[in-house]
């Protein structure tokens, strides 16, 4: 018989992003990078080799002026719940789905850098450390103490701000909150100036996130693959919802820094 390390009810954390509220400012991206110690880039990094746990993509409705419209969609690890492609391919067991939280955990110290998971991920949400992390000019003094910097040669991705989850569990241990699921929020949700991101326990029917995920305009990315993402999106615009079913347009853009 086993029991869990912290005696709290298991949760299934999920997120709902209202795309009609997203103005593409990028606050979520920088809040994520600051929270999770994502480094600035060395010379020569491209949009393919750089690390962006959370990447706000631009969507276009494909029409021409004046019918053209832009929308923005923040894409990060979709925290697949059913068939998790990255877990099934990892030869190192460096990826696992945490039973207590439903979070797809990536363990950098176990990763051997084969990048099989990056190929398997249909959401392009995994990033490889092609370089040692480096911050210019003493900026490493500003690192978040709750998250360790990763090293060259390993894969990393969004883990729903696991450092914050750990802190919330520690607080729950002090409060003696045994029966409730641990409550916390991610850096992107805390930062979003328009309140487009809602985070919480999808298993708690009373939670805002569970109710929003059930709304009629809610959808998930590439639902046809059956990966069961725990990140949901909402948009009243039909063309935005339609874009979610199609694969991301082939990345022809290549941006080189420096």
């Amino acid at each position: 018989m086993t029991k869990e390390t912290v005696k709290t009810r298991p949760a299934r954390y999920g997120m709902v992003i209202d795309l009609d509220r997203c103005n593409g400012c990028g606050a979520c991206m920088i809040a994520c990078a600051v929270e999770n110690n994502v480094p600035a880039c060395p010379e020569g990094v491209t949009d393919r080799t750089g690390i962006t746990w959370m990447r706000v993509q631009k969507l276009s409705n494909g029409q021409s002026f004046p019918d053209s419209r832009t929308a923005f969609i923040p894409v990060m690890c979709q925290q697949c719940g059913d068939k998790t492609p990255c877990v099934s391919v990892c030869p190192q067991q460096a990826v696992e789905v945490d039973e207590a939280s439903g979070i797809v955990d990536q363990m950098p110290q176990r990763c051997l850098g084969c990048r099989y998971c990056m190929v398997a991920c249909p959401y392009h949400a995994r990033y490889f450390n092609w370089w040692d992390p480096a911050w210019p000019n003493g900026m490493e003094r500003t690192l978040n103490p709750d998250v360790a910097p990763r090293m060259r040669g390993v894969v990393e991705k969004c883990n729903f701000c696991h450092g914050r989850y750990q802190e919330a569990r520690a607080k729950a241990a002090v409060d003696g909150a045994a029966e409730r699921a641990v409550e916390y929020t991610t850096a992107c949700a805390e930062a979003c100036p328009t309140g487009a991101i809602t985070f919480g326990d999808l298993d708690d029917p009373g939670s805002e996130v569970a109710q929003l995920a059930k709304s009629e305009n809610a959808f998930r990315l590439l639902e046809k693959l059956g990966t069961g993402p725990k990140v949901h999106y909402i948009s009243k615009r039909a063309w935005v919802r339609a874009a979610a079913g199609s694969s991301l347009a082939a990345e022809t853009r290549e941006v080189r820094h420096g």
Binding site: F65, S68, L143
Partner: protein
Amino acid sequence: MSLGRRDLLKFLGGAAAGAIFTPVPWKLIDDVSIWTQNWSWLPLVPRGEIQSKYTTCTLCSSGCPVRVRCAGAQPVSMWGAAGHRLCPIGLSAHHLPYHPGRLARPMEHTQGGKWQPITLEAAVERISTGLSGCLRQRGSIAIVDGRAGTTASLLYKRFVAQTNAAVYIADETTARNGIDLDRTSTLLSLGVPLQDSWGEPGHVMRLQADGKLTVIHAEARASATASLADTWLPLAPGAETAFVLALAHVILKDGIYDRGRIQKAENFRSFETLIAAFSPERVAAATGLAPDVIGDVARQLAQAGPSVVLAESRPGVDGADELATAVAALNLLIGSEGSEGGILARPEVPVHDSLKDASRVPATTLAAVPDHSVKVLWLDDAEIPWAVLERKLAPEHLVISVSAWPTGAAAHAGLFVPAPLFLESVRDAAAPADSAAAWFRITSPVLPAPPESREGVDLLSQVAEKIGLTPTDSLVDHLHRRAEAIRTAGHGQVVSYADGTATGIAAFSSAEDFWNALANGGAWTQAASAKAPPRLRLPGENSSLEKTMRTATPPPSNPGTAAELPLVVSAYTGPPAASPVLSKLYEESGLKEPPDTAFIHPQTAERAGLKPGARAMVEAGNVKRPVLLEISTLVMPGTLHVSAAPEFHPARPKHSIAGTTAANGRLVRARIWNV
């Protein structure tokens, strides 16, 4: 006993056998494997007790309350406080002290266009020499203040009052008036990036999402603001003024305005005559908008109030004044001046007696300064395009820039003196555009400032003493005095950053109490009240608006290969520097338009014979700039959209497209060709 080779081998064999039974190989395997996972050159995270400190962000005039999360004394992240959220630049502002582009020492521009470090004493000496040479020449010294309405502004004004030779240049519109946005119902924006860098982050979107605000946005491009507006009007560039006057035309014709009040306004009859020429039918071609659409917008503004019309202010840019005049007239007509949910006069923040005289010194606009007249130009955090400033300079001149960044106009300064960042200084924030209340919010330092950095006014005081003028006390002293003046005036309340609660000012019994409440995270504020403006004045027939109809022409539908296209420039509007991590994220996500890129509609590119995805040259007036040409279905056919780079590096050519462009008002045309 003789030891042979065999014995030596046996000795080694014994040693090897023995080593297996010692911890050496096993421990080394363990340690080396740990080493491979923890390379010593990887940065370590800071350690220290986690605590929160509060301050105010002064990167823009929004002055957001900030909670700085610190590990020990080290800031490790920044968050909005008291219900506010921060913009991306604010969220990473704790990176800025370590920005590689920051200059922390005074610098001098050499002839070759390179920066060369000098001592602060030498900088003060050079400024003193420059200033004392023109103290008797009226208007030869110009001080451009990028943070109008702050306590530092009063100290600049005090200097100007002392000398006669100096003029104080600032845009005080926002300092005097604010938009009572929380109570506005309809907002018409003429190209203002409401969703991007205007007002408190997320403010407009939250009001829209709550169904309190309807946004009508006019722009020649399907930008983020356009795509998220309730109504987007694809307005041709250069026709903004004509469009605004056509709205006024409909409102007058339909009689949907406060007749009793407006008809008493100065110039009313003359304005009516002027407006008569701007019927929706007549401006339809130039604006690219159907007469019905213009009529509907006009009626919505007049009837779904409170309404506000908003246009971007571009100081010193040709044609911007005409648009400002037209917008002011329209706001008057729809009754937004001085009414709830409209544009309100901000209550004055009390001033200590020692600066009362200074507060009456008027601000001048850059347009009012004669060309080639300025001998000493002092820039304090001013974000005015260099091309605009350059016109005002006399042949022999000294440009001094006090800023944290050698960017924008500061890149062209002869002398650069670093200013501390807001995380390193005590200063007050300017007033936000999207609130009409009076505010007094100060920053508390969480990091030490570089030893050779100075607040602009403190540097000027040092110089003033040297050239025989009365020096002022430090900015910090004046902030203390102002806080005391506010406390004794007895109006308003203090909103705590920690929990968002408001405390009436009467609760603060001493100067120290009040100061501590502000310094430990608190904003003093006093709500504005609706008050009709004392004098209503409309522009008449013989105003500069009269020629608007002639200059507004539609974009060419079939541009030839050498055609000049109407130019739309999205100038860099944020603070000149952002965290390198943020720049990286923007580049990798492709979220923000890369600088120095021209966008053109595919149809226009084809007709004009332009090759997209290649280098090109843009020429507008006497300014040329190399760009990367991209096609985009988001831009209006027949127009050219350029995203202009902040002039970060002083080695870049001394040209700025933004400086010569009137994106508002007068049409500027540009030529583009592949190179």
